[in-house]
């Protein structure tokens, strides 16, 4: 990667408004062309990756209510660092930043929970029947509960491999870890995920029976 990992603090550091040039052909064309280079590069990235960033944030633990703001923060971070990000490496930068942002979001949510209650949330608060499970919201809630219970590193690899369908080599480059570590984390993440799903299915069968 040609860029440093981005912290939440740097992601929030929005570049101050640039002073506009005086009215005149040279000034205008300098500004317009300078602005357009940034815009020409940024806009397709928003078009292509806004959904990816939202999905990674959500699957890595950002609350639904914070997705809109955090997606903007991720792209603002890219905008601030655009000159440092090599052309072609933008997707990696966005994924890395989204994972950092989600980690910050999870920590903030945990602090809020600590303030509100002494008890950790139940892993699964209720089991729905087959019809209700078909409802998207219920499935999403169940997925959140399973992912929230997983180790953070395993969760990230699982999300990138199973949800984003990235290759292990891509994940290794993004997380800056060896390919063997990715493979190992993926095996453990899958085993953990399957165990939790099997437990849910077992509980569901017990309830039905």
């Amino acid at each position: 990667m040609s860029c440093q990992p981005v912290t939440h603090a740097t992601a929030l550091a929005f570049r101050p408004a640039v002073a506009l040039p005086a009215f005149g052909p040279a000034a205008i064309f300098g500004e317009v062309l300078g602005k357009s280079k940034r815009e020409v590069r940024l806009r397709p990235l928003v078009d292509n990756y806004v959904g990816l960033v939202a999905r990674i944030l959500r699957n890595a633990g950002t609350a639904e209510a914070d997705i809109d703001d955090d997606v903007q923060r991720v792209f603002i971070a890219l905008s601030n660092r655009l000159d440092d990000v090599r052309v072609g490496a933008e997707k990696s930068f966005l994924v890395q930043t989204a994972l950092h942002m989600a980690a910050h979001s999870r920590r903030a949510a945990a602090r809020r929970r600590e303030t509100l209650t002494d008890h950790p949330p139940d892993v699964v608060d209720s089991l729905a029947g087959p019809e209700e499970m078909a409802q998207r919201r219920q499935v999403r809630r169940t997925l959140d509960q399973i992912l929230d219970a997983m180790d953070v590193d395993l969760r990230a690899v699982l999300a990138l491999y199973e949800f984003e369908e990235m290759t292990t080599a891509e994940i290794a480059a993004i997380l800056d870890i060896p390919g063997g570590t990715v493979a190992s984390r993926l095996r453990r993440a899958r085993a953990d995920f399957r165990e939790r799903v099997a437990m849910l299915e077992g509980l569901a069968r017990t309830e039905v029976g």
Partner: protein
């Protein structure tokens, strides 16, 4: 090249597992996410798209073509402020096509207090036609269209500001707030107002607005952009 394991979605026999993985893959995020992100980045809406595309094309053309295009663009840049001056001199809005629902900007001085909440915004003189009961799909289309109109309105503000016309930009912003009293891009518009005030030399007003903004929206994603004005 290491062997890629099969994806769980393709190999699992569990319907719950498949449903969960599908939920993870199919998450889309809230509506208007793209528009909000573009607005936060200060990228223009449709006008910006056209500009970006045109300039990308411009980059690969010959010098003679560039010269012709430069002349055309210069003419446009001169025409835009001229049109604005005409608009201010002639109150007939039909002569000027605004990029968003027509509200004639009133060049009144901008108050140095934080804008009134939406409930206190003066209602338009002519009530909009009553809409029939809408389906969710129709409502979504209307919302999307309204957001596009908001983006176009803010594009007009940015263009005017880019031409050093801070008074015009403030007038367009007043028009924006009147047209979209419950608009979804109010925060971006507030930041543009602060930009316009500062650019027009009204640093005290810009500072006051910036401080009010930070007080009302301490967690806004645009906070860092406003901060320098509040500290001047």
């Amino acid at each position: 090249m290491m062997d890629e394991p099969d994806r769980m979605f393709d190999q699992t026999a569990s319907s719950l597992e498949r449903a969960l993985i599908h939920a993870g893959r199919s998450y889309r995020g809230p509506n208007d996410l793209r528009a909000h992100t573009l607005a936060a980045l200060g990228l223009a809406g449709s006008a910006g798209l056209a500009t970006g595309g045109a300039l990308a094309w411009l980059a690969v053309k010959t010098w003679s073509t560039k010269l012709l295009l430069a002349m055309s663009a210069l003419t446009l840049l001169v025409a835009i402020p001229a049109s604005y001056v005409m608009l201010r001199q002639d109150a007939r809005p039909a002569r000027v096509t605004l990029p968003f629902p027509a509200v004639v900007p009133q060049p009144s001085p901008v108050a140095t207090v934080y804008p009134a909440p939406p409930a206190q915004v003066q209602a338009p003189a002519v009530a909009p036609p009553a809409l029939p009961a809408t389906s969710p799909a129709r409502a979504s289309a209307n919302a999307s269209s309204a957001l596009r109109a908001e983006l176009a309105a803010l594009d007009a503000v940015r263009s005017t500001l880019a031409n050093d016309d801070s008074v015009g930009a403030l007038s367009f912003l007043d028009a924006y707030f009147r047209t979209f009293p419950r608009g979804r891009l109010h925060l971006e518009a507030e930041v543009l107002r602060i930009d316009a005030l500062a650019k027009g030399g009204r640093l005290d007003a810009a500072k006051k607005y910036a401080q009010e903004y930070l007080r009302h929206h301490p967690n806004s994603v645009l906070t860092a952009r406003v901060q320098p004005y509040a500290e001047r």
